[in-house]
């Protein structure tokens, strides 16, 4: 059993070295939405994300998300300070992934 375990741990470490590096995280995006954007938009994350299709969100977040910042600062003035601040720039990839993940055409079914 020790040999099997040793082999498996070695394989595990090897897998770890092969693993992909940085990637954005929709779950973190959901957390940031809840913390920084929910009050400003006045709606929950699921409802917010279904405002656009995946392609539309991708277009809005293209580059440094200038189109998203412009549209949503105007649409929800309560979000303007956050969207034009440093935090949004930092968390933008996660928020984009969250919006794309739960977009109107994502096929995702909301939970309770």
């Amino acid at each position: 059993m020790k040999k099997v375990f040793g082999l498996l741990v070695s394989a595990f470490l090897l897998v770890g070295m092969m693993s992909t590096s940085a990637f954005a995280d929709a779950a973190k995006g959901q957390k940031y939405y809840l913390k920084y954007m929910k009050d400003g938009s006045g709606m929950n994350g699921a409802k917010f994300a279904t405002q656009h299709t995946q392609a539309e969100w991708k277009a809005l977040f293209d580059g440094k998300a200038e189109k998203f910042v412009a549209e949503y600062s105007k649409k929800y003035p309560g979000l303007e300070a956050f969207l034009k601040g440093d935090k949004f720039e930092k968390f933008m990839p996660d928020i984009r992934d969250f919006c794309v993940e739960f977009a109107s055409d994502s096929g995702n079914v909301p939970s309770c």
């Binding site: 059993m1 897998v15 770890g16 693993s19 929709a26 079914v109």
Partner: protein, 517 residues
């Protein structure tokens, strides 16, 4: 010579030009013919028929519109029990187990205010497992998708949600088999982003029932506040169809035999209906700080009722050499509750490490309320009919604390988790569905420690996880039923004095690869 060549060249050029002109004309004519055919064909297309066909396809898809997800894990578990004495041989008992676990998730939404969710699961050990047939509790309804055995696909979750609004209160009503495994906090060690419904500290098992949730955040102005009523049935007292053949070779009385002749009638061979009603109150959730509480009462908790026949070799009834019969019966009620707190992102911008770290702490209690009379095996005395739960005739309170952190790993996307929990002498949780092989760590009457490391291989679609769990038991009877035969808390010394075995500790190492999409 030039005079001859020049006219010849001009003639050749003119003739080829005329030939090219003819060819072009032919091609134009051919194109015109094709265009005419196309126009003709287009005019014959029945737009209404196409529309009807589209509607048919749409209707077909709408009726076949389950969105499936896959969660598949291959794991190697090492289990190791340290036994000090008694009927199980003393010393270390180890085993290495390969398993495959498949969860097929389902979701559909025919209307904005109606959702169906479900999952089917198969959890099997590699190869055959002949022991299953001899263990009636291996696939008990509380954890049938959490105990590896054969490749049978079982129902893990199936429920619908109906949404609506009453003024500022958004509500949902739901019936079915609940999303009640890997709830709040325990979702972290499970590697799941989103927790299931309950607080995982004291409820982590499969059951059927209903829930009614009311979002109070808009009404109160408190971020994330909601109140949820949960109802469930953990055991249904109903005999099966053609029930007279149940226990055909077992020991049942004539009266019991006749009662089983009525399909799905109540049976004295079964424990009474076991029901649970509770409330989950999310006090606050702003994405970073989350506070949740629950309180529940369970009626008719099941426990072992031991009886005997004969007098054995020693001629005395109720002693260890007699023939024993064990049935499940109602031994009393249980109340419980928890208050839990989680920080998802410590501080605000202090460092990336702290922003990405999670800390939680939870306190829970349980309280017994014995009722009825059943047979209890008392060491050195024999079987004594009495009213008791967890080996005590009194109402006993148990408590537990559960705390942990999850921090970023060495490379981006990797996660390291550390968890600790402690349970008191009479602690009893509903955590039978916890995903490990040595028994629920959160049910431990003693101390339990866990360390795990999760790393993405292909993003979140393929992950690897290694975990180590150490359960240090101070009292026996953790993770058992609610009676004294199985759940009496005894120290190692008390168990030894009674001639009974005592598991001092249990360890579970798991290496797993998990695919999700």
């Amino acid at each position: 010579m030039k005079k001859i060549i020049a006219p010849l060249l001009v003639g050749a050029a003119l003739s080829s030009a005329f030939a090219a002109d003819d060819s072009l004309k032919q091609e134009v004519e051919a194109l015109k013919a094709q265009m005419a055919e196309l126009k003709n064909a287009q005019s014959k297309i029945n737009i209404d028929a196409l529309k009807a066909q589209m509607n048919e396809i749409k209707a077909h898809d709408a009726g076949d519109n389950i969105k499936w997800t896959v969660d598949f894990r291959t794991a190697y578990d090492i289990v190791d029990y340290k036994v000090n004495s008694g009927m199980i041989p003393a010393g270390d008992t180890k085993n290495g187990i390969w398993s495959n676990k498949l969860i097929l998730g389902m979701g559909s939404q025919p209307a904005d205010n109606l959702v169906f969710k479900g999952s089917l699961a198969a959890y099997k050990m590699f190869g055959n497992n002949g022991a299953t047939a001899y263990n009636p509790f291996q696939n008990m309804d509380w954890y049938s998708s959490e105990t590896p055995d054969d490749g049978t696909i079982r129902l893990r979750e199936a429920y619908f949600l109906y949404f609506g609004d009453i003024g500022d209160v958004h509500y949902s009503a739901s019936f079915g088999r609940r999303p009640s495994v890997d709830g709040f906090m325990t979702n972290l060690r499970a590697g799941n982003d989103d927790p299931a419904s309950p607080i995982g500290h004291n409820i982590n098992m499969e059951f059927d029932g209903a829930s009614f949730k009311f979002d109070l955040d808009k009404l109160t102005g408190v971020s994330g506040m909601y109140f949820k009523i949960c109802l469930g049935r953990g055991n249904t007292n109903a005999d099966s169809k053609y029930g007279a053949f149940d226990n055909y070779m077992g020991s049942i009385t004539g009266t019991q035999l006749y009662t089983t002749a009525l399909p799905y009638a109540k049976s004295s061979l079964n424990s009474p209906n076991m029901d649970l009603a509770g409330a989950i109150f999310q006090i606050y959730d702003n994405g970073q700080y989350k506070v949740m509480a629950n309180y529940f009462k369970g009626w008719n908790m099941m426990g072992a009722d031991v009886s005997w026949t004969g007098v054995g070799v020693d001629g005395n009834p109720g002693t260890m050499d007699d023939t024993y019969h064990i049935a499940l019966t109602d031994v009393g009620d249980l109340t419980g509750g928890a208050l839990s707190f989680q920080v998802n992102g410590i501080g605000d911008g202090i460092s990336d490490f702290l922003d990405d770290s999670i800390f939680f702490f939870s306190y829970a209690f349980s309280k017994t309320d014995p009722k009825g009379t059943h047979g209890l095996m008392v060491p050195g005395v024999g079987i004594v009919p009495m009213t008791e739960m967890l080996g005590s005739a009194d109402k006993e309170t148990g408590t537990s604390i559960y705390t942990g952190v999850q921090v970023p790993g060495v490379m981006k996307g990797q996660r390291l988790g550390l968890e600790y929990n402690h349970g008191s002498k009479y602690w009893r949780s509903f955590t039978y569905g916890e995903d490990n092989l040595v028994g629920s760590k959160l049910a431990t009457r003693g101390n339990a420690y866990e360390i795990y490391y999760i790393l993405p291989v292909v993003g979140k679609n393929l992950t690897a996880q290694i975990s180590y769990m150490y359960l240090d038991y101070k009292y026996s009877g953790s993770d058992m039923f609610f009676d004294g035969n199985t759940g009496t808390p005894m120290t190692a010394a008390e168990a030894a004095a009674a001639g009974m075995g005592f598991v001092e500790s249990a360890q579970n190492v798991r290496l797993a690869l998990r695919y999700r999409y």
